[in-house]
Structures are given as structure tokens and as C-alpha cells.
């Protein structure tokens, strides 16, 4: 099951443009797109899913049973994130710092700590008119940590794919075959921090979208470092090709990264995207380009396996 993450480092390079059009260019009956940008998901604008499944997600945070607590301080001592503090005889829990690891409850000698679900966001999934399955996460305003939501989104979306698939096939692809492996495309959040690493975890390939500007190059370098650290093979998409300079191309050649697709800066493409149209709807010729790109990814993956 190829899992392809579309990531970028720099924000606004066209991750969602590439992820959605790649999904729409492949065999829709076996394609799942997961929008992992849980702080600002937008892939649904292009795929128009019917969100049928919904689940609240969060983290298990400690709750102290005061009568049982002896204020021994063990919970505060084992908390790596300083989310539990013992002040005199009182235990304070700071949910914003808690990472939900459960160490405090596990180590409490009095079993005075229970864990309760602190809701951080919601997961939603459903079929799209194209037949591509879709899933996304939405983090609640005010939450600070996206990674736990992304981690659960990836697991949950995978669990529900077969249900979505049946629905999509019944309604839209009566003769679609589900032969062949499912293809999972993950639209990553911008940046190179924890949520992006969480999205990349377990991926087979990273499709790195950049633009040929010094800023694009700077953040691409960071992104390439991350994929190498995680041992994930990568390829490049240059968006807004023709602006800026040749430094991105030179860098890709120097570090032996294949440029798999180039999309020029054209006003009509920008206008279409602004109307919520996928790139392959604005320029149907790109369907073949994305299929070619996917064939390249497959051959790179086969080489890596060998």
C-alpha cells in the first residue's frame, strides 16, 4: 500500500493543489486522501466530500482523586512535560502541557489518578463525487498540539476506508474493481515541525512541493533533511516554475533528488484554484502528468525495495 505524503516546508507552495490533483488522476476506486493539516484543512474545498463518519478525538489527561492523593509528588516527578505540579497538598494539572503519555497515572502509588478524554478536535470522513475516499481532522481553536490528532486521524482513516469504498462503489462505480493496492495520499501541514513528522511517519514516499525562490529553497532544504532523517525517499514538484531563479534545480541535481513535475505560474490556474477547482479540472492535460509522476514514484519505490 503506497503511502505518499505531500509536504513542503514553506507554506503556500501548492501542497493541496498537488495532493488533490494526484488523487483525482489515479484509480479513484483505490485512492484515499487524508488531509493532515488539522490546523487549517482545505483539501475538502477541491474534493467536495460527503462527510458521513465523524468522531471526536483527544488525549487522555490525568484527573486527580483528591481524597486518595497523598501529594507525594511522584506524578510531577515523572512528568516529562511539567504538566502536573504539586503545590503543598494540591496537585495541579495543566492540560495544555500534557502529552497524554499516562506516566503520572501509571506511577501513582495510591492509584489516585484517573485518565479522562480531553477532546481536542474531530475526525471526519466520507466519499467524494470522484470516488476518491476522503478523511480529515479538525483541531479545536485554542489547542496547541496537532500531532496527537494527526496520529489518530491516520489510524482512523485507514480503518474506515473499506466502508467508504463500498459506499463509493455502490453509488458511483458499479463496475470499479478494487483490485490492486490502495493508494493513500497524505496532505501534510506546512513546516517541518512535529505535525509534519507525525504525518511522514510510516510513509513510503515524500512528494516535496517547492517554488523556485530563495525562500522555497531554504525551506526545501529543511524538508529534505527531515525526509533523509526518516529514511523516506523523496521527489520534487516545482510549482510556479519560471519565477525566481535556478537555485532549486541546481540544489535538486546536487543532492540527487528527481524533479517529477513542473507547473508554471499562470494566472488562469491561480484563478481556477481560487474558485475551488482542482488543477486537473482547470488543465485536464495534467492528468497524464500526474499518472506519469505516480509511475515514477512506483519505480523509485521498487528500486528502494530491492
Amino acid at each position: 500500500m503506497p503511502r505518499i505524503v505531500v509536504a513542503s516546508g514553506k507554506g503556500g507552495t501548492g501542497k493541496t493543489t498537488i495532493a488533490t490533483s494526484l488523487a483525482l488522476s489515479l484509480d479513484s476506486s483505490r485512492t484515499l486522501l487524508i488531509d493532515c493539516d488539522v490546523e487549517a484543512p482545505n483539501a475538502h474545498l477541491f474534493l467536495q466530500p460527503r462527510l458521513e463518519r465523524r468522531e471526536e478525538v483527544g488525549m487522555l489527561i490525568p484527573e486527580v482523586d483528591a481524597p486518595r492523593c497523598t501529594a507525594c509528588g511522584r506524578c510531577a516527578e515523572v512528568c516529562a512535560y511539567h504538566a502536573v505540579v504539586v503545590i503543598g497538598k494540591r496537585v495541579l494539572v495543566l492540560p495544555q502541557l500534557c502529552h497524554g503519555c499516562g506516566s503520572c497515572a501509571y506511577n501513582c502509588p495510591e492509584q489516585a489518578i484517573r485518565e479522562r478524554l480531553d477532546v481536542m478536535g474531530v475526525l471526519e470522513a466520507g466519499p467524494t463525487p470522484s470516488g476518491v475516499c476522503f478523511a480529515r481532522g479538525m483541531m479545536q481553536v485554542g489547542e496547541a498540539m496537532a500531532s496527537p490528532i494527526i496520529r489518530q486521524l491516520k489510524r482512523w482513516a485507514g480503518d474506515g476506508t473499506s466502508a467508504c469504498r463500498q459506499a463509493a462503489q455502490a453509488g458511483l462505480h458499479p463496475d470499479a474493481s478494487s483490485d490492486g493496492q490502495p493508494i493513500v495520499i497524505l496532505d501534510a501541514p506546512p513546516g517541518v515541525s512535529c505535525p509534519v513528522v507525525e504525518t511522514l511517519r510510516g510513509a513510503d514516499f515524500a512528494l516535496l512541493v517547492t517554488e523556485p525562490t530563495p525562500f522555497g529553497l531554504h525551506d526545501l532544504r529543511l524538508m529534505v533533511d527531515v525526509t533523509r532523517e526518516l529514511h523516506i525517499p523523496a521527489g520534487i514538484v516545482i510549482n510556479r516554475d519560471g519565477v525566481g531563479d535556478g537555485q532549486v534545480e541546481a540544489y535538486c541535481a546536487a543532492v540527487d533528488l528527481p524533479v517529477l513535475l513542473r507547473i508554471p505560474l499562470e494566472r488562469s490556474i491561480g484563478e481556477g484554484i481560487a474558485r475551488g477547482e482542482p488543477l486537473v479540472a482547470i488543465r485536464p492535460a495534467y492528468v497524464a502528468s500526474f499518472q506519469q509522476l505516480y509511475a515514477c514514484v512506483e519505480s523509485i519505490l521498487m528500486e528502494t525495495e530491492r
Binding site: H82, V85, I87, R90, L94, P195
Partner: protein, 134 residues
């Protein structure tokens, strides 16, 4: 009375540190014995939870009042729970710890009743993170 002042260095004449959780030092002053000691803040470069650790530290040292420039929500919550009043230096000035102590004794420092900054102290203020910040 035991008073803690956040400071940029371990000296009475060093300028005070403007943000409690990220202060380099805490000066622990005992107004009765007129003695003081400096404690380096182990949380000064913590990736998160600096306010929590700083507050815990000064509470453990028996602080009865804390003077700084600003307090984040976590530090505020802990110091409140411990019953330690918080005072802030006058805005715009950069007094030394010694000067702040004199102002405190003269009753000229303002006590706060709410956190003065958002969580994340000096590098996580609103808007600073932006897209892909975290």
C-alpha cells in the same frame, strides 16, 4: 519576608528579567535577615513548561511574593494556587533588582490579578508562530 525577583544575572544590580518563566536567575531576598542568594533558573531554555518549572522552583524556596515584568498563565496559575502574590515592574523602565526591592518596600509595585502574557513566554506571543509555527 521572602521575596523573589526575576533577574538577568545573579547580582542585585543586574537589570531585572522581564519575563518570569524565562528569567536567567531568581534572586531570593530575605527582608528580615537582609540576606539574599541567587538561583540559576534551570528552565531558562526549556522547550516548554518554563513557567511551570520556574513557579515550582520559587514556591519550593518558600517565596512569599514574586516580582517580575510579566507572568504567563501556567506560572500565574501555580503561584496563585500556592498563595504567592505577584507584582510587576513599572512598564518601560528597566530597574535593577535592588531598585525593585526598594519600590516594593515603598508599596509602589502593582500586584496583578490575571496572567500578563500568553503561554509560551517570550517566543510564542500571538501571531509570532504563524503558518507552520508549531
Amino acid at each position: 519576608m521572602k521575596i523573589v525577583i526575576s533577574a538577568s544575572d545573579g547580582k542585585l544590580d543586574a537589570p531585572y528579567a522581564a519575563h518570569f518563566g524565562r528569567a536567567a536567575y531568581f534572586l531570593l531576598l530575605d527582608t528580615e535577615s537582609d540576606t539574599w542568594q541567587a538561583v540559576a533558573n534551570p528552565a531558562v531554555n526549556a522547550s516548554s513548561g518554563a513557567g511551570v518549572q520556574s513557579a515550582q522552583l520559587v514556591v519550593n524556596h518558600g517565596a512569599q511574593a514574586v516580582i517580575s515584568g510579566s507572568f504567563g498563565p501556567h506560572a500565574y496559575q501555580i503561584l496563585m494556587a500556592a498563595g504567592v502574590p505577584m507584582f510587576v515592574a513599572p512598564a518601560g523602565a528597566s530597574p535593577s533588582a535592588r531598585q525593585l526591592l526598594d519600590l516594593f518596600k515603598a508599596g509602589q509595585l502593582q500586584q496583578i490579578a490575571a496572567p500578563t502574557t500568553a503561554a509560551g513566554g517570550c517566543h510564542g506571543e500571538e501571531g509570532a508562530a504563524g503558518e507552520g509555527g508549531r
